[in-house]
């Protein structure tokens, strides 16, 4: 028997005390916060200020909060993001809820960390159109501090404690009968849990669901199988944030259910996800699915408790 050369010790046990947000029902107590950027009260407070700071845009009219509005579940009621000088982005502003649990960021997953992600819109010419050097000059912060503070704040935006969470926790009365039928369809005939699963109702993977001509994940990987694929968004607070899909092309939850009921066209869309198929839902079933989706709204919190 040789020495265990194949076994690799990846990390020693190093723990640091950190400020933590309260965790809403339905989410994990474990927050995967990178050791290089632990949550601190000061950073989160700074991040909140920066999130609302229009100085981070070229014409000082746009902040992160312009497109990620708390009252719309940290999304934007407009179908596509609109940046400085009224420039229109190609994709919708996603709901940035529970991103602390995320594995990759942006619709196409091109950012591996939140620290990397938060710098993207600032530099994007159709969003905030500022170089990081300009951003640091305007705020008086280093690039690292700017990214760390914004990422820390975003990590505290948590959504949970919905009727669905209470139902999962054992409260059988938390969902209406119609929503319970919807849950059964969600897990069963409609097959939604093929992608929308776990505490955050997303597999954090990429799927082509037959929406639009945007190459999506393909631009990141150059893998033909990723053409038209986008990251599964969380369904938490989904009823509060129409319109839907990465291009905002579906206006209501009814439209979304109709889209999935049709199942897409695999003959004209070679990379259509194999889970996409005609569902043949009845009118009652479609309505129940929407009722269930509405039950995914609960409380949204941001920042650290005093």
């Amino acid at each position: 028997m040789s020495a265990p050369a194949k076994l690799i010790v990846l990390a020693a046990l190093t723990l640091t005390a950190a400020d933590r947000p309260a965790i809403p029902l339905g989410l994990d107590a474990f927050l995967p916060v990178p050791a290089a950027n632990p949550l601190t009260r000061e950073k989160v407070a700074l991040g909140r200020r920066l999130f609302h700071d229009t100085r981070l845009s070229r014409d000082q009219t746009v902040s992160c909060a312009t497109c990620h509005q708390a009252r719309y579940a940290f999304a934007d009621p407009r179908p596509l993001a609109i940046g400085v000088h009224g420039r229109k982005a190609g994709r919708r502003s996603p709901r940035i809820l529970n991103r602390v649990y995320g594995k990759s960021f942006f619709w196409d997953g091109r950012a591996a960390t939140l620290e990397e992600q938060v710098a993207g819109p600032i530099q994007n010419p159709v969003e905030m159109d500022l170089t990081l050097a300009e951003a640091t000059a305007r705020t008086g912060l280093s690039e690292l501090d700017l990214k760390n503070a914004l990422a820390s704040y975003v990590r505290t935006i948590l959504a949970g404690d919905s009727p669905y969470d209470r139902f999962l926790a054992g409260d059988r009365a938390a969902l209406t009968a119609e929503a319970q039928l919807g849950l059964n369809l969600f897990r069963g005939k409609a097959g939604c849990t093929a992608c929308h699963l776990g505490p955050n109702l997303t597999d954090e993977r990429f799927h082509n669901t037959g929406i639009g001509a945007d190459p999506g994940r393909f631009r990141v990987t150059a893998n033909p199988r990723d053409r038209g694929a986008f990251k599964t968004p969380t369904l938490r607070e989904v009823a509060k944030a129409p319109p839907y899909m990465h291009d905002g092309s579906l206006l209501t939850l009814d439209d979304v259910v109709e889209h999935y009921d049709k199942g897409g066209d695999s003959e004209t869309n070679a990379s259509l996800d194999p889970e996409m198929r005609a569902l043949r839902l009845t009118t009652v079933e479609k309505k129940a699915l929407v009722a269930f989706l509405e039950s995914l709204s609960g409380t949204i919190q941001e920042g650290l408790a005093p």
Partner: protein, 520 residues
């Protein structure tokens, strides 16, 4: 260093061997007791005199499962399959008395208590939800909602344990989303951090904390068999404690440093025999005693079966489909992306496999698997099927499956069949067992019902266009003719298209409890 560790180690000691040994419990910290399940009852075995104390009696469909004693040995937390069809977490006093319900949630169908916090106020428990999510949770021993620390996917930890100071949890899980090998993780109980402690090629699993809190013991297979390894809780170089222990499962460590483990012996294998009753031989090449559920291809050139492979020596997800050539020594694994494999059959054209099981989203159903590429496609699923999925077959080019009290065509037509099961098709005709006495037969588009010549039949097979019925011992044609096949086997035969050779599963598992005194 390695030699020193081995020199200090005493020889493993056999603690318990016998027909009623189960590996679902844990030793008490004082080494006096071992919890286990005896015929469904929660029981304690006195490790000094072999005396048994029963703490909870099984009744009807209810039975006990995993259990763990509190650090003071006064209480035992255990999983209990209830009369509603899912698992409760319950608490019993080792002094006797009525057990107490700690946690019941229909949405969490399975629970596995693993360890107690040092203050005895919480039980580290694995929760497995209906949506195929496993969760590491602390359940209050006084009752109340659990605190979910960490959600994982369908790959639930095989073992987890609490550090003696109660600050950290060690558990095993997949090394990454796309890597089936297991790694060992440390999770802070306050949710503030998680670290991967051991990874690298191969499986690293079954972690337990040593009583002094300084190190963690785990199982690993670096290539020559599963051994017991040790690593410092703050990292370092792992060292081998005991090489090649066999198919072992840790049960727990006492305060004195006695490492109790279960050893799995025996098991089932796939055999081939002449239908005339002669020439039985083993059909498998590798992993003896870990194989089952054979199915001949329509052209007779391949035998498909399920095999439990790798270091991880139990658990549904460790099964793979194996194709063994009828002639020669060729063998191939078909790595279908399925979490649970229960049975495999060939489609009549021999170009695809029909597989009963669940995918990684927990959809129990019927799947089609390409034997060349392992590409897996869901054909049909139903929530009521559970993780075991659906039995199905093609007849006349149409897919049908058994569900509840019906045989259903995928297109929608159905035929009543109480407790439908054991579907068998030769591509043209179909037969299915309905209850214990009847057989539904579908020939040329029409259904008929016949009485089984064997009461309590459990298996069906076509021999050419003749139907044979069996109970796992006898196998008879419908006219009552008894076929001379081996009687010591698991129900389920597959008949070669030559009509002369059968493949079947035989054997049984035995478990033993062993103890290893750890080096200081």
């Amino acid at each position: 260093m390695l030699l020193l560790a081995l020199a200090l180690l005493t020889e493993p000691r056999l603690v318990w061997r016998g027909a009623n040994v189960t590996l679902l419990g844990a030793p008490s910290k004082d080494g006096a007791w071992l919890s286990y399940i005896d015929s469904g009852d929660l029981a304690l075995r006195n490790l000094r005199d072999g005396r048994t104390v029963r703490l909870a009696r099984s009744a009807n469909k209810e039975f006990g499962y995993f259990s763990v004693l509190s650090r003071d040995s006064k209480s035992i937390a255990y999983a209990w399959f209830n009369d509603k069809g899912f698992y409760d977490l319950r608490l019993a006093s080792t002094a006797g008395g009525e057990p107490r319900l700690l946690y019941r949630n229909e949405e969490t169908g399975f629970v596995q208590p693993c360890a107690w916090t040092p203050d005895g106020k919480h039980i580290l428990t694995l929760l497995f939800r209906k949506d195929n999510i496993s969760q590491i949770a602390l359940v209050p021993a006084a009752g109340g909602p659990p605190v979910v620390l960490r959600s994982l996917n369908w790959v639930y930890p095989k073992r987890m344990d609490l550090s003696p100071d109660g600050r950290f949890i060690v558990y095993d899980s997949f090394a990454s989303d796309d890597n089936g090998d297991r790694a060992i993780y440390l999770l802070a109980v306050d949710g503030s951090s998680e670290r991967k402690l051991v990874a690298g090629p191969g499986n690293h699993l079954f972690p337990l904390w040593t009583p002094d809190g300084k190190s963690i013991l785990f199982a690993s297979d670096p290539g020559d068999g599963m051994g017991l390894w040790q690593i410092g809780a703050s990292g370092g170089t792992p060292r081998l404690i005991a090489p090649r222990l066999g198919r072992f499962v840790p049960l727990g460590i006492t305060a004195a440093g006695d490492y109790y483990y279960g050893l799995r012996g025996g098991g089932t294998d796939v055999y081939v025999a002449d239908l005339a009753g002669t020439a039985r031989r083993t059909a498998t090449l590798k992993f003896p005693d870990r194989n089952r559920a054979p199915a001949w291809s329509p052209n007779g050139e391949w035998l498909a079966y399920l095999s439990r492979r790798g270091t991880e020596n139990f658990g549904q997800e460790s099964r793979v489909i194996v194709l063994r050539a009828s002639r020669g020594e060729e063998e191939r694994e078909v790595a279908a992306r399925l979490a649970h494999l229960e049975a495999v059959w060939w489609a009549p054209d021999g170009k695809s496999l029909l597989v009963r099981g669940s995918d990684r989203q927990g959809r129990g159903g019927l799947y089609r698997v390409d034997p060349e590429t392992a590409e897996t496609k869901l054909l049909h699923w139903d929530e009521s099927a559970g993780f075991r999925g659906l039995e199905g077959a093609y007849v006349g080019g149409k897919l049908l499956y058994a569900l509840g009290d019906e045989i259903r065509f995928k297109e929608g037509a159905s035929h009543p069949c109480p407790q439908a099961r054991a579907l068998t098709s030769n591509g043209a005709n179909l037969a299915a067992l309905c209850g214990s006495k009847s057989i539904a037969v579908h020939r040329e588009g029409a259904w008929s019902t016949i009485e089984s010549p064997i009461p309590g039949a459990q298996e069906l097979a076509w021999i050419g266009d003749r139907l044979a019925v069996g109970d796992g011992q006898q196998l008879r044609l419908l006219d009552g003719t008894k076929l001379p096949i081996p009687s010591e086997r698991v129900p389920g035969v597959s008949v070669h298209p030559n009509g002369k050779t059968i493949a079947y599963t035989a054997g049984s598992a035995q478990s033993e409890v062993w103890c290893l005194r750890l080096p200081n």
